[in-house]
Assembly symmetry: C2
DNA sequence: TGACAAAGTTAGGCGTAACTAACTATATTA
DNA sequence: TAATATAGTTAGTTACGCCTAACTTTGTCA
């Protein structure tokens, strides 16, 4: 087939890949420093991740050079980023979560939940959105539903 | 306050704690071997986990003895198991996932998603369930919604 | 009661993923 | 162009979570 075997990425490598994808934008180049900043890790950690991603043919990487995604890297990253965005907007728009928390949860969700659940969850989100446009506004109703419960119980931390 | 500072547990330690909780049942005792079996890890790994849990005062553990949960261990485990069950039934009853997959996803979900999202998600599940009993059967509708989309796209792996 | 099996632990190793500190390469600019 | 600042790498450490192999403890039963 067209694509070669997708070597499964660890949670952390997916994060790196997505960060590169977001940082690189149209130019498709970015730098180690920026990746480190984006992910809040040390520059040394980025170097390590870049080596791993290069091994998997996902990035073009030469020490001291700009970093860019390979074709398969871009495809993989786009897929990750897409699911990520859907989850994030579910967390924000439906569940009403704050952006920053939604962001980091979306990052981790996929690895944790696995492809089957994610696929189903994405469908479900689509369903909720679809309903909220064409039928009953579930999001609105959920908000009200939450309102009626507030103060009835303590949210413990 | 009543409880001492909850030292945050790693994903894996929570899994051990929950396994002990489930295995111990009313008797509140279990054995290393059974924990290993339940989680599919080696006996040696269980020993390591038990030491960590004992350090955090969550289990009574003495080498070569039966294992039981402390009071705070039981409280922590019950909380984990409860959220776990809610998530699992959402995955199964709403999303339509298979039991085994739902099980493992529920295990990991909490660590990954974090307490805020989980709390909101639990509310949302409650909302969906509430609706499916008292109002429109959202679960049914979601199933249909999925049906209309099947065959329109490829689910890639 | 002593041999054996089962249960449990210890020791040592592996992979991942992060860190700091120190080094090297590159870029800027006086 | 030489000094310096910035970027990037290397080496070494730590922590976690798992493994296997070998050892110890405990319980059973002939």
């Amino acid at each position: 087939m067209a694509g070669m075997k997708k070597t499964k990425l660890s949670a952390s490598l997916e994060d790196y890949l997505e960060a590169i994808y977001n940082l690189a934008g149209d130019s498709n180049i970015t730098r180690s420093r920026d990746i480190a900043g984006q992910l809040g890790v040390s520059r040394a950690s980025v170097t390590g991740a870049l080596r791993a991603l290069k091994d998997k043919n996902l990035v073009h990487y030469k020490p001291y050079n700009y970093i860019s995604l390979t074709e398969s890297g871009r495809i993989a990253a786009a897929e990750i980023a897409n699911k990520h965005d859907i989850l994030k907007s579910f967390f924000i728009d439906v569940l009403g979560e704050k952006s920053a928390i939604a962001q980091s949860a979306a990052c981790k969700a996929e690895h944790a939940l696995g492809p089957e659940i994610i696929a189903r969850l994405l469908s479900f989100i689509e369903f909720v959105n679809h309903n909220s446009e064409n039928g009953r506004n579930l999001v609105e109703e959920f908000r009200k539903f939450c309102g009626t419960k507030r103060n009835k119980r303590k949210v413990e931390k």
